[in-house]
């Protein structure tokens, strides 16, 4: 990967929540890179830390959660499209979460679309006002110009009659339309990175298909990178260039989508892919379920967090923290099995 393609590098990110009951290690070792103009999907089950990772990037981790360790290197490029000249690299992890630097980035260069459009939009402001707020916060434009831009954005996301819906309140719109409004708001400042946290999960299949198509089309037009968070392996296959699998706060595998589906290396990824029902498969087959359940966050297993459920567990998996290794070019995995010489595992099994 050429260095000038990198937009965001996440290195060894750890975000913990110190609570009365104990420390929740929500993100406990996340490593991945997002390239300019590409889509990276983060897959995992609930509680795996995929949303907290995104919140860490934007520095909106709810208290008492904090980033304990790690770097979030955001590469800012100059506007000169020809040269891709890199202007500077900012470590988002070191910024003051309430300071002016992150506020200039948040919503402007890195924007976010949330899962529940109803709970994340203000019910007492019109769609237009909420989009205009973002525009006027980051750009020196008059109210009339901002409104003009809001209508234009609504038009681009396929909102019907944008000059009317700009004055609509969220409750007057359907779920799919609200999500379009959210996307319009996120894209109103032409971000270089769009973080989408399960944007289609609350929607029906046919509406979700519309939103997925829309995001792909907007990416082509506007060229932003997308950090797509989901639990749906079907959506990942459709939208992503590269994917990352998370389990209990750790990124366990990173690869391009085709490799991840056809040559998964981590036992969790393999098990996950086998356990999902597929519409193309004949009925009445037993699913290969993953045994056990996701452990309690206060009481994580030692060593590799997946070892109690792993089919290929070896004698060392319960006490060695598996390293993050590049097993094949561009294919990273966090599993002892692929680490030569270090641990004695069930490789033969």
């Amino acid at each position: 990967m050429a260095a000038d393609r990198v937009l965001l590098e996440v290195k060894g990110l750890k975000t913990f929540f110190p609570l009365d009951e104990g420390t929740v290690r929500a993100v406990d070792g996340a490593d991945f890179t997002i390239e300019r103009g590409k889509t990276l999907a983060v897959v995992g089950e609930s509680g795996c830390g995929k949303s907290v990772t995104a919140q860490s990037i934007l520095r909106i981790v709810p208290p008492p959660g904090r980033i304990i360790e790690g770097e979030l290197l955001y590469h800012r490029y100059s506007n000169d499209e020809e040269s891709f000249a890199m202007a500077d690299v900012i470590d988002l992890a070191t910024l003051n979460p309430k300071g002016p630097e992150i506020r200039a980035i948040r919503g402007n260069e890195i924007a976010m679309v949330f899962q529940e459009p109803m709970t994340s939009l203000s019910p007492v402001h019109t769609m237009g006002n909420q989009i205009m707020e973002t525009i006027m916060l980051h750009q020196k434009v008059s109210k009339a110009e901002a409104r003009e831009r809001a209508i234009e954005m609504l038009d681009r996301v396929g909102m019907p009659r944008p000059s009317v819906t700009v004055d609509a309140y969220p409750f007057e719109l359907s779920g799919g339309m609200r999500q379009r409004g959210m996307i319009a708001m996120a894209l109103s400042c032409r971000p270089s990175l769009l973080i989408a946290d399960e944007p289609t999960t609350a929607l029906d299949v046919t509406t979700a298909a519309q939103i997925l198509d829309l995001m792909r089309q907007l990416q082509e037009e506007m060229g932003m990178a997308i950090h797509y968070i989901t639990h749906d392996l079907g959506v990942v296959a459709e939208i992503a260039d590269k994917a990352v699998v998370m389990y209990l706060g750790k990124v366990v595998e990173q690869a391009d989508v085709d490799t991840l589906y056809y040559n998964p290396l981590h036992p969790y990824t393999q098990a996950l892919l086998r356990s999902i029902p597929r519409i193309t498969e004949d009925r009445r087959q037993w699913l290969e379920a993953i045994k056990g359940m996701v452990p309690d966050p206060y009481n994580l297993p030692s060593g590799c967090p997946f070892h109690p459920r792993c089919l290929r567990v070896g004698p060392d998996c319960s006490h060695i923290d598996p390293p993050w290794i590049e097993a094949e070019p561009g294919h990273w995995v966090r599993c002892c099995q692929y680490d030569d010489g270090q641990c004695n595992t069930g490789r033969q099994a």
Binding site: D204, V205, T206, D213, G234, E238, P277, I279, A289, M293
Partner: protein
Amino acid sequence: MAERQDKRLLEVSNLRKYFPIKKGFFRKTVGNVKAVDDVSFYVNEGETLGLVGESGCGKTTTGRCVLRAIEPTEGDIRFRDQRDGWVNIRELDMTELNRVRQQMQIIFQDPYSSLNPRMTLLELVGEPLVINQGMRGRALEERVAELLRSVGLRPEYLRRYPHAFSGGQRQRIGVARALALNPRFIVCDEPVSALDVSVQAQILNLLRELQGSFGLTYLFVAHDLSVVRHLADRVAVMYVGKLVEMAGTDEIYPHPLHPYTEALMSAVPRPDPRATKQRIVLEGEVADPANPPSGCYFHPRCRYAQEVCRVETPVLRELSPEHFVSCHRAEELSLTGVL
């Protein structure tokens, strides 16, 4: 026809459920939300009928009307009772209904809100036994322990409260509760959609296993077509309160006859990056059941719509044996399914 009837456990005909829209000071009824509008289907003994559709299409309401958990506005729900043979659920009085309903149970979608947090597993799973059979003491404990074992929970958990369990385990508790009275028929209302991917497979396998060992019949309400393909013998598709297609699983997936079924199937994201993506993206939104379009409710979004679709409401007809569809153009269209 007589032979067909023998296999059947449940027959629903012309089921309607209208929710009145009330307005103004006198709460005058100004219109109706036609949540379920003239729906007819049947379920054979020992099989699973998948009832699919998008949110608001009336699939959950249909499931609840069958149990009379919601009082239907119109229609017949005929159930083959173990003692009396065919009975019409809608005409039963409360005593009779309570008796028949012991054979019909429901598993709810959300395992977090459907279990009372102040009751132990013994109370939760044992409640139907106490109420209907007056069971108590040792016998009750033994029966509950047995039920917990059958859904893969440890009987030692008897005195614990639901908060101590994960989503998948809670759903197992819900299943154990539904099984308590040895039902023959269970309405599964989106039983896995609130669960994580790795746990979904466990619950789906459990439901299949129980179906085999107890000879259960399921009405499986779901929006996920992949899940339904795995579990259902037959599939019924609903759109804005109406049944648009019903056929065997092996028939409907490769050969859908209704354009909505076709679009619904093509919209499901495939977990395969190499799959060819020729998706039919439907224009517009699901119609408002309080103010549905004229003719076929699907015509404003249908890419095959013609003049007749705008004017005439199609009826559900049996185009080939056991394959029902309500589309004017079903014969002439050749639609793409999934193989």
